[in-house]
């Protein structure tokens, strides 16, 4: 089923849309949430919340990329719930790593995100994907190393250097003073 068809059903408030949405992007959302929350029951509850959010948000929202929209909804919902529920063991590591790289959250977050996107687009694809998998999807280092067929040390070193470069880039752009 094409995304445009699912969007069409959502816009018509056809309940089949929820089923199709779950069928197509439920797995992706669940895997994102599973990287953030520890308890499988929390994961399922959060997943239901994400699906409801999507159902409620479209319309009026008309996402150009439904997959990314669903993934972002899952990530946001999971991080929000991680504040009150038990977060995934080890989640604090990527979180603290990215915290030390980015400016204080009070800064212009949309502007920062745009700069980060610009920075990432300049990176080689495999580096960029490793970075996003680690800090956007919160995959463990081991999984990333396995996926890219490199050693864990290499992933760690590569991410460290990318964070350093990103930090330098953001400082140059005047987003924060380091």
């Amino acid at each position: 089923m094409e995304d445009s068809e699912i969007l069409g059903l959502l816009n018509r408030r056809d309940e089949r849309a929820a089923e199709l949405l779950f069928e197509k992007y439920g797995g992706l959302c669940r895997s994102i949430i599973s990287n953030v929350l520890e308890d499988p029951r929390d994961v399922e509850e959060c997943l239901n919340g994400v699906m409801f959010r999507l159902w409620s948000a479209i319309p009026p929202a008309q996402p150009g990329d439904l997959k990314a929209y669903a993934a972002k909804a899952a990530r946001n919902e999971a991080l929000m719930r991680a504040r009150t529920l038990k977060p995934k063991q080890g989640l604090e590591i990527p979180l603290s790593e990215i915290e030390s790289t980015l400016p204080a959250p009070e800064a212009d977050s949309l502007g920062t995100a745009e700069l980060i996107s610009r920075f990432l687009k300049k990176q080689p694809p495999y580096k960029r994907d490793m970075f996003i998998r680690r800090y956007w999807y919160f995959y463990p280092i081991k999984d990333i190393a396995g996926e890219f067929s490199v050693s864990e040390s290499k992933v760690t070193s590569l991410l460290f250097r990318m964070r350093d470069q990103l930090r330098t880039y953001l400082i140059k752009e005047g987003i924060f003073d380091g």
């Binding site: 915290e99 959250p105 996107s117 081991k142």
Partner: protein, 922 residues
């Protein structure tokens, strides 16, 4: 929730707003393995994607099959908005090389049309199309668009003797179609059709304006493809479209390099003919099939053959995807190359072993699903089974795996059954060879080897009543065939035993021969033939046991008058029995803890009969490699001490990770032969690549699952260390062994006894001897920076202790810093701008009580501090900085600090570095 976590979450929220395209791109799975599976999957995917297509066009104006109808040119669709087709190539070969005989080809006008996806699949899977009268005869390839305009709808596929067309309806007035000529030499423009050829300026693509529609025509990999588009399409659009097609279409395979058959029968028929040597089918006089294929499958068997593999699929087509088992005979892979499939370079797939079957598995990242593969060999033939899964990972018991992973050869005559296996004749309860073995302690052990029948002939004599007088023969199996089945049942004889062979009393026989089989369990390449027990003992003592732990021995006894009873018949038999057993390397003692081993060494070192005689101590491996430092076993013999570890650690995701390590101290090895030892270790790895000398260490480089190091220490002792491939270059260049003396350690002066100089002078030397001389000269002078020094520290590590890597020493009243080149940074793929050095700092101005303050000071100066770890008395300041710091207190009470490159980013890597030797200066 603590504040820091909240701050972290907010930072993560900021990152959450990055571009959608980055998010979706990163989520795409990366497939890493199983090249043949990928190939097959791509073929199957190409085949089934047809179910999604939906538009049509016309080809032959004269036949008007699906051609643009009506006489009103449509003008609604702006050409610029036309999506680019992305055709996919699909191979549904039946034997494609053969040219149909002229008298048998279907006549012009014959055609076959498929109106539904089901029909199409039936066409794809229901072959073979090897009947020359079949309009599909000789069809090897067809092309289908991968993506279509939203409004396009699949109409039908048409095949005739010349062409194959895929038709789509774009709207009520316009159609698309794509087709190709099965025989390019027959490409002609049909007569009677008015057309105007458009000069595109490029002879790569011809465009013909046929008034009602336009045709683009181009050649691709020996095929001529045509595209028919609505007449309002602009030239540029058509050219762009054709260019896109040309870029995307993969090269067609050579006609004889790969074949696909839809049934096993068609494949078998194909290989039964005369096959040219250039064909991938050459040399196949049958094929391997799964011995017990799954019952739950459709009547399909997709078989693909190329130079390297013969592949069979057993399963069902569900929802346009294949579900089932994929079986492959790896025809150009030898058993010793199987590791390449299990551990391709850089792969981190999990490998589990079920008996002789290896299971590999990996999962998609970003979505559920994965793939499981089983690899095994039968004799010299290697096989693989795999299956993919989407949501629920299939579970296999060991019994299921063993039952599943069996292949049977289907040859002439056709049979699905494998060759029958002769029944093994087991040991008999009465009689038989006995070996009396006296061990090194004088104890006598009775060994009953495994008895198997090699051959026998029974003579019932002349019996007029029964008419039985003929001889019966029972053929047995040679030992090397039996070994894989009975290896665990064979008794073991240690090679340092004194032995006596006691022949059976219940039937007269003579010792015919003693055979010792090769260096591997079932390797018949090197069979030693010996005449008697004395020769066997001589062989056992002189054999080089460095490469194997045990050898298979078959002792052959010949008899001629052995009584034989068969029901009421009696007779005598003559024949030969084999008696099998292992001989193992000279007996080794096994200990389960260091304490146990230490006690044995202390007890035995004064006893000339003990393997520990004369030892004043022993070596242990660098404990830093091994989180759980207690070895599982310690094996000791007169030649070596071997420590085996199984280390389990918990990963950040909560999963446990288990790895094996082995450390061997080769007690009597010649240091000059260390490289040879490394080579011999490498020869034992199926994935061995090379031995490289790095930092005075011979690194046995492999492609997994294990690597090894060999090195010689300052005392000329030879060591071997085997470690998981995953540790690879990080660990390869700094092995380390610690000498454990059995004597009481000599008293060393305490820290308090060392006075401090009063000078603020700083001196630096790049020559260690000059530094030592200056120390010797200045240590008595309170104004000298050397005042009070009676020695100094050098980093113990094998890599850094060599003088060649010493770089400089800088001395102040507070510190002595010794810097070493780290060298060969390429080994760990470090960044060229990273600091490439080790630094050992003796904080001579600090006492043990000050160490914690030093650690805090280092932390405060660490830019990207991530945590403090403490292991085995060493503090490790964890960070993302380019250099890592460790601090420890020596036995003298001195405070030392080590600085290491970024790659030492794990406590287990840092720990082995944190050792320094006290170098006294007399």
């Amino acid at each position: 929730m603590d504040e820091r976590f909240e701050r972290s979450l907010k930072s993560a929220d900021v990152l959450g707003d990055i571009d959608d395209s980055l998010v979706t791109e990163a989520a795409k799975p990366r497939r890493r393995r199983f090249r043949w599976i990928e190939a097959v999957a791509s073929v199957l995917a190409a085949v089934f994607v047809l179910g999604t297509v939906a538009a049509i066009l016309h080809t032959s104006a004269s036949r008007q099959i699906g051609g643009p109808a009506g006489d009103q040119p449509a003008t609604e669709q702006p050409a610029a908005e036309q999506p680019v087709f992305r055709p996919k190539w699909a191979n549904t070969s039946s034997p494609s090389d053969a040219v149909p005989e002229a008298t048998q080809v279907p006549t012009y006008g014959d055609r076959q049309v498929f109106y539904s996806q089901e029909e199409l699949e039936e066409w794809i899977l229901g072959g073979p199309h090897d009947d020359p009268k079949d309009v599909l005869y000789g069809l090897s390839y067809y092309y289908v668009p991968e993506k279509l305009p939203d409004e396009a709808e699949f109409q039908y596929i048409e095949a005739d003797p010349d062409m194959v067309w895929v038709h789509y309806e774009l709207n009520i007035e316009n159609n698309f179609s794509m087709g190709f000529y099965k025989d390019p030499s027959k490409r002609i423009d049909l007569p009677g059709v008015e057309y105007t050829e458009i000069d595109t300026g490029s002879k790569d693509v011809y465009i013909i304006d046929r008034w009602l529609y336009k045709t683009a025509c181009w050649e691709q990999d020996g095929h001529v493809l045509e595209l028919n588009v609505p007449p309002y399409y602009e030239e540029e659009t058509i050219i762009d479209y054709c260019s896109a097609v040309r870029e995307i279409l993969p090269a067609a395979p050579k006609p004889d390099s790969r074949f696909m058959f839809h049934t096993e029968k068609s494949f078998f028929d194909a290989i039964s003919g005369n096959i040219p040597e250039t064909s991938a089918l050459y040399g196949l006089n049958g094929y391997w099939a799964l011995y017990d294929p799954p019952a739950d499958r459709d009547a399909i068997s997709v078989m693909e053959v190329d130079d390297s593999e013969v592949f069979l699929a057993y399963g069902k087509i569900l929802n346009h995807s294949f579900e089932g088992l994929k079986f492959s005979y790896l025809r150009d892979t030898k058993p010793d190359e199987l590791e390449d499939y299990l551990h391709p370079a850089g792969s981190l797939s999990r490998v589990t072993q079920y008996g002789d079957v290896f299971m590999t598995e990996w999962e998609y990242s970003g979505r559920y699903g994965g793939e499981i593969g089983f690899y095994w060999h039968q004799g010299e033939d290697c096989f693989c089974i795999s299956r993919t899964w989407d949501f629920e990972r299939p579970e296999f018991t060991e019994e299921e795996v063993k039952a599943l992973c069996r292949a049977g050869f289907v040859g002439e005559p056709v049979s699905a059954e494998p060759e029958p296996t002769p029944e093994i004749v087991g040991p008999e309860t009465a009689g038989g060879l006995v070996i009396m073995a006296t061990d090194e302690n004088g104890a006598v052990n009775e060994i009953l080897p495994y008895r198997h029948m090699l051959w026998s002939t029974v003579d019932y004599g002349s019996d007029p009543e029964s008419g039985q007088g003929s001889a019966l023969q029972a053929d047995g199996m040679p030992l090397y065939s039996l070994l894989p089945k009975i290896s665990d049942e064979l008794p073991v004889l240690y090679a340092d035993s004194e032995i006596e062979l006691v022949l059976p009393e219940d039937y007269p026989c003579t010792l015919m021969e003693i055979q010792v089989f090769g260096v591997a369990e079932n390797d018949t390449a090197e069979t030693i033939r010996l005449a008697d027990a004395a020769e066997l003992m001589e062989f056992m003592r002189t054999f080089d046991w460095s490469e194997t732990d045990r050898l298979a021995v078959d002792i052959l006894l010949q008899y001629s008058d052995r009584p034989f009873v068969n029901g009421e018949l009696t007779g005598t038999a003559k024949g030969c029995d084999g008696y099998a057993l292992w001989i193992a390397r000279p007996e080794t003692a096994v200990f389960s803890s260091l304490e146990e081993f230490d006690a044995a060494v202390r007890e035995g070192r004064g006893d000339p009969d003990s393997m520990f005689y004369g030892l004043e101590g022993y070596y242990t491996p660098c404990i830093g490699f091994v989180p759980d430092r207690d070895p599982i076993t310690i094996s000791a013999s007169a030649d070596m001490v071997k420590y085996e570890y199984v280390c389990t650690s918990t990963m950040s995701n909560g999963e446990t990770d288990t790895r094996d390590y082995t450390f061997v101290w080769h007690r009597n090895a010649d240091p000059a032969e260390a490289e040879e030892l490394a080579e011999s270790i490498g020869a034992g790895y199926e994935t061995f690549e090379a031995v490289r000398l790095i930092n005075d260490v011979w690194v046995v480089w492999t492609w997994g699952p294990e690597m090894a190091n060999v090195w010689v220490n300052e005392s000329g002792e030879v060591f071997e260390f085997r470690f998981p491939f995953i540790m690879d270059s990080n660990i390869a260049t700094w092995p380390y062994a610690t000498w454990v003396s059995l004597d009481e350690p000599a008293a060393t002066p305490s820290y308090e006894e060392t006075p401090e100089p009063e000078t603020q002078e700083e001196v630096r030397y790049t020559d260690l001897d000059a530094f030592t001389a200056a120390l010797r000269e200045g240590r008595g002078d309170p104004d000298s920076v050397y005042y009070g020094l009676d020695g100094y520290y050098l980093l113990h590590n094998a890599q850094t202790s060599a003088k060649g890597r010493f770089k400089s020493v800088t001395v102040t009243a507070d510190t002595i810093e010794i810097e070493y080149d780290c060298v060969d940074i390429d080994v760990w793929d470090a960044d060229e701008n990273d600091p490439n050095r080790f630094v050992l700092i003796w904080h001579r101005g600090l006492g043990a009580d000050d160490a914690e303050a030093l650690v805090n000071d280092i932390i405060s100066n660490t830019r990207f501090y991530t945590g403090l770890a403490e292991e085995d008395g060493v503090w490790m300041i964890c960070s993302d900085d380019e250099e890592k710091h460790g601090v420890w207190i020596t036995e003298r009470g001195d405070v030392l600090e080590i600085i290491a490159p970024i790659i030492f980013d794990d406590p287990y890597f840092m720990l082995p570095l944190a050792h320094a030797d006290w170098i006294p200066v007399e």
